[in-house]
């Protein structure tokens, strides 16, 4: 077990900077998830922690020891790769014990550790098989077993679930979480799936274009996104953004509708342009608020999702962006074409600076 400290880390390939100065503190035993759109540099950062990529600037320290120049084999970490990277010519048992055998661990100890890991993951009957004889989910477990057997300071995962089907993904999510609660090994986990991040992490690091947008606990990010990127990235369906300006004690949309701010008007901001953010589940029918036409109603049983088009916007391509999403827990008789008037609970509304994207 260990802490990991990432300080001003940078990574360039030639003239192109991929990671632009990133700092993260990871406590002993913490489960940290790096999340962000594909191509934002998550894997690169993880691979720098592993020692698979050179660090162009800044430091990575494991247990307060800077490991920038330490080759991966000396870092005492274990990594689970996206494609599992199981050795095809070794049995499952040999795959799991490979690292221990390299260290000349005693036979009895190897057997004991492999059996323990196999027990945790339910791999017992498969130990003599080869990777090609296993299903995707089983391979995924073997890859984790290989990490567990090592009993390393840090677990690193790079999108370990992205090759599994939806159902298995949900199941493995739970298993990984349980495994972490049991072993309490410091874990850094990369995914582009914000639901995975929300459900599994102690702490989420939202990355975008090589920088960190925000670090925080899942619900913190959900309730208090630091900027429009995080607000839009976390939560599904995504947050609605309505452009307009601050005026009096409320918010005026571009077409003149009024939305409440509940007295949380920032100082000296009358008439200032802003973006009003509302999560789809926070809209309510209201007397005052935004008038919009129902375009699509999508009941899923447990909830109903609606696409609304604010009055005054056309059906054209440009105005598609203006469309709003509303999620209702209760069933509704609303039909396409109907006009509704909606507004959020003012306490749950967000305000952003349209130029910087920062929260106001």
């Amino acid at each position: 077990m260990a802490s990991v400290s990432i300080r001003n880390v940078r990574k360039s390939y030639g003239p192109v900077e991929i990671i632009k100065g990133v700092s993260i503190d990871i406590q002993d035993g913490e489960f940290v998830i790096l999340v962000g759109p594909s191509g934002c540099g998550k894997s690169t950062l993880l691979r720098m922690i592993a020692g698979l990529e050179e660090i162009s600037g800044g430091t990575v320290a494991i247990d307060d020891r800077v490991v920038n120049d330490m080759p991966p084999k000396d870092r005492d970490i274990a990594m689970v790769f996206q494609n599992y990277a199981l050795y095809p010519h070794m049995t499952i048992a040999d795959n799991m014990s490979f690292a221990l055998r390299l260290k000349n661990t005693a036979k009895s100890e190897i057997t004991a550790k492999v059996e323990r890991a196999a027990g945790i993951l339910g791999l017992g009957p498969l130990l003599d098989r080869f990777p090609r004889q296993l299903s995707g989910g089983q391979r995924q477990r073997v890859a984790m077993g290989r990490a567990i057997v090592r009993d390393p300071k840090v677990f690193l995962f790079d999108e370990p679930l992205s090759n599994l089907d939806a159902k298995l993904r949900v199941q493995m999510r739970t298993e990984i979480k349980e495994m972490h609660q049991r072993l309490k090994t410091t874990t850094v986990y990369v995914t582009h799936d914000q639901i995975e991040a929300m459900t599994m992490a102690d702490k989420i690091v939202v990355m975008h274009d090589g920088i960190i947008e925000q670090i925080g606990a899942p619900l913190d990010l959900y309730d208090h996104p630091a900027n429009m990127f995080v607000a839009g990235f976390i939560g599904s369906p995504a947050m609605n953004f309505i452009p307009g300006s601050i005026g009096g004690d409320g918010f005026t949309t571009e077409d003149g509708s009024r939305l409440p701010l509940g007295g949380r008007v920032p100082a000296a901001s009358d008439g200032r342009p802003a973006v009003y953010g509302v999560r789809p589940e926070h809209f309510r029918l209201a007397d005052e608020g935004l008038a919009a036409e129902v375009v699509v109603v999508e009941p899923t049983g447990s909830e109903t999702q609606m696409v609304l088009r604010p009055l005054g916007t056309k059906a054209g391509r440009e105005d598609r962006k203006r469309e709003l999403t509303w999620v209702l827990r209760e069933r509704t008789g609303a039909r396409p074409g109907e006009v509704v008037r909606i507004a959020p609970d003012p306490a749950l509304a967000h305000l952003f600076n349209p130029d910087t994207g920062l929260r106001l």
Partner: protein, 276 residues
Amino acid sequence: MSRPLRKLLDKAGMAVCVLLLVSPALLFFLWMLSLSLKFEIDNGAYPPILIPERFAWKNYTTILEGNSFLLYFWNSLIVTGAATLFALLVGVPAGYGIARMRAHKSAVVIMIARMTPGLSFLIPLFLLFQWLGLLGTLWPQIIIHLVVTVPIVIWIMIGYFETTPMELEEAAMVDGATRWQIFAKVALPIAKPGIVVAFILSVIFSWNNFVFGIVLASRETRTLPVAVYNMLSFEQVSWGPLAAAALVVTLPVLILTVAAQRQIVAGLTAGAVKGG
């Protein structure tokens, strides 16, 4: 009713086509076999005889009885074996290193080596061997066969290691393996099919090589192709024993070709290499 019939006809037509296509090869080797099993009279008969009434097994026994033939067989075995083993020894790691360093430009040297006529290596190396006093031993041939075998092995292994996933080796790095352990315990076992392909092609092209032998071999160090050629030009033997000798020389290769045709096809189309 007519559709299945038409399909059947199509199939039959295709089969005839293919039979036609393999017949030049098939008939040639059958004729070779026939020549090698006929007595002098039958080989000189007109019209030619395909299957003689009496088989001339003695064509084979005479060439095998002459103890020099066994010597030449042994020479071929040594030269091909040594040149291939040495090529694997240096070529497999080199293919690995080049693939991992992404040093594709260095493969150009291999390409050019493949394009160079074997004869132009012979002049300088002949002088070198003469100067070193190696002529008369098998060493010159073993060494010069490396011109053929090393490029084949490197070329095929580069292609093979490029297709094996880097992720596996990274996993091994994280698991604590040194670069030698990664090579020996992860990369090499996975590349086994590629090594088999490189081995087979290297053996075949070295075994078949003729041009190096006619210059470098003395009477005692001839390899089989040179020995058979010399039977033609100097000893004026009749067709039967000559065809038998030719067949014996090429038989190992033919058997290997049919048995390992899948590997051979894979290797030839991957690099489209040829020795000499």
